[in-house]
């Protein structure tokens, strides 16, 4: 079955060079499902989300492939139309809540802007909805928060606001780009639970970018493991934790720190596994370049 987000052979290069940062990535995401993108730093997991949303850094360009969102190939659309379609159907929960809200504007307009721009709502209607949304993400005293500036709120608070505003215009797809990485562990847990809760209430499909397999086991139904810009394994979460098929995925899983036993030291991914997966990516794909 092809999902409502379907990526076909997507390759992304460093502009003006043949160096590929994503290598023929294919991915299907059915409506309403949560899919994890896992890998080390530089594996290209964020790049996929950015390519979908059209916010790749300017030094990086799409070389080939298709990104079908709701049956339309984003890469074939003219920029203005693409922006409109993405704005209507997708949203982003960014990594760093400290820089993801405009510091010189109050919270309220930053949420209501979307409702006014995307859905064409009236300001008053949008404000009422924003209060509801803030209540949904368990923020007490929503009217006061809407009058605040971002720097007056804590990191966890800001991440809640970003979640509320991502869900605001009822998108069908949310790209969550390491939404818990910048938060401390106790807040991480609350935020994960909140994302899961919002997801099941709104039935939104989420592409969950993370390097933390623990997070994947909690919120995702399926996942893709990336290495060097290539998907080395795509599978259901349950099957993955029962027994990963690829040697690299297995090593990655083994390297997850076990908080239950503080005496065991961390297990790194063994060098021979890395050599093997590099060789594999290289063999399937020609030139190898260290992207890390």
């Amino acid at each position: 079955m092809t999902g409502f987000l379907s990526i076909r052979n997507l390759s992304v290069v460093l502009a003006g060079t043949p160096h590929r940062l994503l290598r023929s990535v294919s991915l299907d995401l059915p409506a309403g499902e949560v899919h994890g993108l896992v890998g080390e730093s530089g594996a290209g997991k964020s790049m996929i989300g950015k390519a979908i949303l059209g916010i790749l850094p300017r030094a990086i360009e799409i070389a080939e492939g298709e990104i079908l969102l709701d049956g339309q190939d984003l890469l074939q659309l003219p920029p203005a139309e693409r922006r409109r379609l993405v704005g209507k159907t997708a949203a982003l929960i960014p990594q760093d809540p400290l820089t993801a809200l405009n510091p010189s504007r109050r919270i309220g307009p930053q949420i209501t802007d979307r409702l006014v721009d995307i859905l064409g709502w009236k300001r008053a209607q949008a404000e009422a909805r924003a209060v509801e949304l803030l209540a949904e993400v368990h923020i007490p005293d929503a009217p006061r928060v809407m009058r605040s500036y971002p720097h007056e709120l804590s990191g966890g608070m800001r991440q809640r606001i970003l979640i509320a505003s991502a869900f605001a215009a009822e998108p069908k797809l949310i790209v969550a780009d390491e939404p818990t990485t910048a938060l401390d562990v106790t807040v991480q847990k609350q935020i994960l639970r909140l994302i899961a809760e919002m997801q099941s209430r709104h039935g939104t499909a989420i592409l969950f970018v993370t390097h933390d397999l623990g997070v994947v086991s909690k919120v995702c139904r399926s996942l893709s493991v990336l290495y060097g810009g290539k998907v080395v394994e795509e599978t259901e979460v349950r099957a993955f934790f029962r027994g990963p098929k690829h040697a690299y995925s297995a090593a990655l899983l083994a390297a997850t720190p076990k908080y239950t036993d503080p005496d065991t030291s961390l297990t790194p991914v063994p060098a021979e596994v890395i050599a093997a997966v590099q060789a594999e990516v290289e063999a399937a794909d020609g030139e190898w370049r260290h992207v890390r």
Binding site: G54, A91, L92, A100, S104
Partner: protein
Amino acid sequence: MLDGRSAIKRRAGLRLWLSGGWLLLIVLAAILAPWISPQDPLAQDLFAARTPPFWEAGSEPGFWLGADSLGRDVLTRILYGARIALIVAFVAGTLTCAVGAALGLIAGYFRGWADRIVSRLVDIWMAFPPVLFAILLIAVLGTGLTSIIIAIVVIDWTRFCRVVRAEAMNQGQMDYVASAQVAGMSRLRTMWAEILPNVLPTIVALLSLEMGIAVIVEAILSFVNLSISTDSPTWGGMIAEGRTSIHQAWWVLVFPLLTLFLTVLSFSQFGEGLKDRFDPVLR
């Protein structure tokens, strides 16, 4: 109650009041010059030549800060000089800011070829020695208020451009800009609605600084006799004239110099104070 933030605010408050107070005084002087001046700024009275200020022996009533070697009242000329100084400060400052900030914003946010063109232009521009450049320009354009303003804009837009470009580049990388793009905002509107408000505190501080610099440039040009015609008193012109009689009448040089110094200082402090006061991150 005494945390770091309120300490910053208090200091900024005092600075803002002192510099703002002086600037207000200068603005009032410029507006009210014809009514509050004790003398005619151009009236020469050779019997009053080099009259000392009021507290020194030999002073005369009506010449509070003394008179120059042609017997013109120093206080009156300072008050009238404020007019030219402020016109130059506001008009040249604002125009310089508009040109430099607009180019800097575009270069810093859009990057790519726009940035390459603007940045090279700035590099080339800054290789010219500014005062010589100004003198050359005035020599070509002819003296007069408009020429001075044009010269200041042409010399100084790079200052804004560089700072605003760096700041816009910085802001452009923040996640809130990416979020705005995802929500379907066009690049132009993102620049206007998301980036500009965050660069504004910097622009305001620079604008105020630039107004001070404009006053200095005008004074320099007056000093080398390339400013407005000698009929309208300017602080720079007074300093130039005072220089020749410094040993006989120090007041002709010192009072305009002091006024110039305090005004330029106030402009820069006022800008910094405003920035500290209204930057939401510091507030």
